[in-house]
């Protein structure tokens, strides 16, 4: 039940170990890592810059996590989201959900990442051959969020 917003990279394996240390009640853990791709909407892109709203970001992530805890039977969770500039192949976001039952961990993980995409105050700018471009909100992401409401 932790959220972090940071400029630095994170280590998914170390985060997983820390979350599970000493736990014997967890049957399944789902980890999602989002990464910078070198293409987007069929065009080549370079680095990504993530702007965010310090203060509100942490509140929004904590609210999203609390919502997941109320909807799903999960025993532990972690959200880490980076901001700043990231090259293709770099990690952007980590979501870990742990439950006695794997289905709940899967549901909670997908719920969290769907919500993060449309409800956390982050904005992506991509370096393209035509210069930096703000990433537009995608209808598919809105639809992914809507299916949980």
């Amino acid at each position: 039940m932790t959220v972090r917003v940071q400029r630095d990279d994170f280590d998914p394996g170390a985060e997983l170990d820390a979350l599970l240390a000493g736990r014997k009640d967890i049957g399944g853990v789902v980890s999602f890592v989002g990464l910078v791709r070198d293409f987007s909407d069929a065009r080549n892109v370079g680095a990504l810059t993530l702007e965010h709203y310090p203060g509100m970001t942490e509140k929004a992530l904590a609210a999203i996590e609390a919502e997941a805890l109320s909807r799903f039977d999960i025993q532990a969770s972690l959200i880490v989201h980076r901001h700043g500039r990231m090259e293709p192949g770099e990690r952007i976001v980590l979501v870990i959900t742990a439950s006695a039952h794997r289905g709940e961990a899967f549901r909670a993980s997908e719920f969290l990442i769907d919500w993060l995409k449309t409800r956390a105050p982050f904005w992506k700018s991509e370096d393209t051959p035509d210069g930096p471009q703000w990433v537009e909100a995608r209808a598919v992401d809105d639809a992914a969020t809507e299916r949980w409401s």
Partner: protein, 83 residues
């Protein structure tokens, strides 16, 4: 009040963060956006399409008809694209 602008709203207004006095008679997010739009072409451009504008009042997502006061922190930004 404290005003914040992010992403292309920030680029168009040319302002990231400022202190501003809520004009008399303005009581809602919608009214505030109207007042800001009159501050010049950058602001007018930023707020031209309300469908593309999202707002937070005191760091909570707000709607166009939600109330604002001179003590609030209000932020304007495009739809979020995190994750």
């Amino acid at each position: 009040m404290k005003l914040l602008y992010f992403a292309w709203v920030r680029e168009r207004t040319g302002v990231h963060e400022e202190t501003w006095s809520l004009p008399e008679g303005v009581t809602t997010v919608r009214g505030l956006i109207g007042a800001l739009s009159g501050r010049g072409p950058g602001f007018a451009h930023a707020f031209a399409d309300l469908k593309q504008i999202r707002t937070a009042v005191n760091q909570e997502t707000a709607k166009l008809d939600d109330p604002v006061s001179d003590a609030d922190e209000v932020a304007f930004f495009p739809p979020m694209t995190g994750g």
